[in-house]
Symmetry: C2
Subunit: 223 residues, 2 copies
């Protein structure tokens, strides 16, 4: 059995959960806070980051969300998420990187820093200017999602893919932290509601971070 080391607001662990659930790969969640992790976690991943996937019986360890998703893409034929021609697969991976790296750097990362780490670790108030910048950049990213959905059925093309799940994973964490304002983003909002209604998404909407309540609309699949 796979054990997925994660914390509830880790967007990369969410991406892995979504991919594994879509592919119907069984796993159990193990909660770990990278900023306060036991040595046993550091031994599994010297980089000290979530997600880490561990199968104790078979002595297998997988580290890094994209490496994990590629692994299951190669070993599980069900529900392909990096699919199509080599060019189509490159487009999926471009968008995964855009959300994993740029959206995270612009939006999710600063929100986690200001609204989670400062509250839980440093016991400080968030910096309002940083929050404003993150929300402004969230609008720019959502503009791009609007444009994609105006031109395509799903983010990367005609098929649902890992790009949709990587994007929705980041957006769900930003939404939990109050960083998403859908006004002016009808297309993106419609697309996100469809994602949020999938069975693979339901467990994510129930995961709560202690000390940080989610806004009311967060877990409502119609909101």
């Amino acid at each position: 059995m796979w054990h997925l080391y994660h914390f509830p607001l880790c967007p990369f662990s969410r991406k892995v959960q979504l991919a594994m659930s879509e592919k119907k790969v069984q796993f159990e969640l193990v909660r770990v806070y990278p900023w306060n992790a036991p040595d046993t976690f550091q031994e599994l991943n010297p980089a000290g980051r979530t997600p880490v996937l561990h199968d104790r019986d078979k002595q297998r360890v997988l580290v890094d969300s994209q490496a994990i998703c590629e692994y299951f893409e190669e070993t599980e034929a069900a529900a392909p998420l990096i699919l199509g021609s080599a060019a189509a697969r490159a487009e999926i991976r471009r968008l995964v990187a855009l959300f994993d790296e740029c959206f995270f750097a612009d939006v999710t990362g600063p929100l986690l820093q200001e609204k989670m780490k400062k509250r839980l670790i440093a016991r400080q108030s968030p910096d309002s200017r940083t929050l404003r910048d993150a929300m402004r950049l969230a609008h720019e990213h959502l503009d791009y999602v609007d444009w994609l959905i105006d031109n395509r059925r799903w983010l990367a093309g005609a098929q649902l893919s890992l790009a949709d799940f990587a994007a929705a994973a980041q957006i769900s964490v930003a939404d939990y932290l109050g960083g998403i304002d859908w006004s002016g983003h009808e297309q993106a909002h419609g697309w996100y509601r469809v994602l949020k209604s999938r069975p693979s998404f339901a467990p994510l909407l129930k995961q709560k971070m202690e000390g940080i309540p989610a806004p009311r609309h967060y877990a409502d699949v119609n909101a």
Copy 2:
């Protein structure tokens, strides 16, 4: 013909150059500075980052260094760089992410910020504390390379792989910027000298960033 949009000290463009050269895929370099790029570049990649690979005749655009490397892995059988079992490939991708993300965040990124962007764009002096931190973290990463090379032939295992090229690409930029001190890292140094001596590396060692001279040892394959 592929055109690779890059700037000389972009570690991700270097990784792509190395992978394409190893696979003997022809390309021409186009220099672009993301902080001062023409609209035509922004149209190719809305994220505004290098590397971007463009084939004008065939109207193909590839964006993101890992998406590009995976694309050539799928389309070019020569010189496999993400190779072996699914578990071996996951280990290669783990290490690629470790260098692309952690080494970059700890070492290459701060060095580029302090020694390149501050000099060329803001005309400021580098912050010596940030530089000290980056060099201290470089030692920690090189300790890990030492450990890997103590236990394996190449970084990810018995075979030369994209992990080696991703790591060497980051290290080469840090070395150009004076951030690498090999003392105490004999294994890592030996491994890097072997990488540096490969024909695919030679063009990188000749690429100069205007206004930022490389240290003497940088291009010496015996140093």
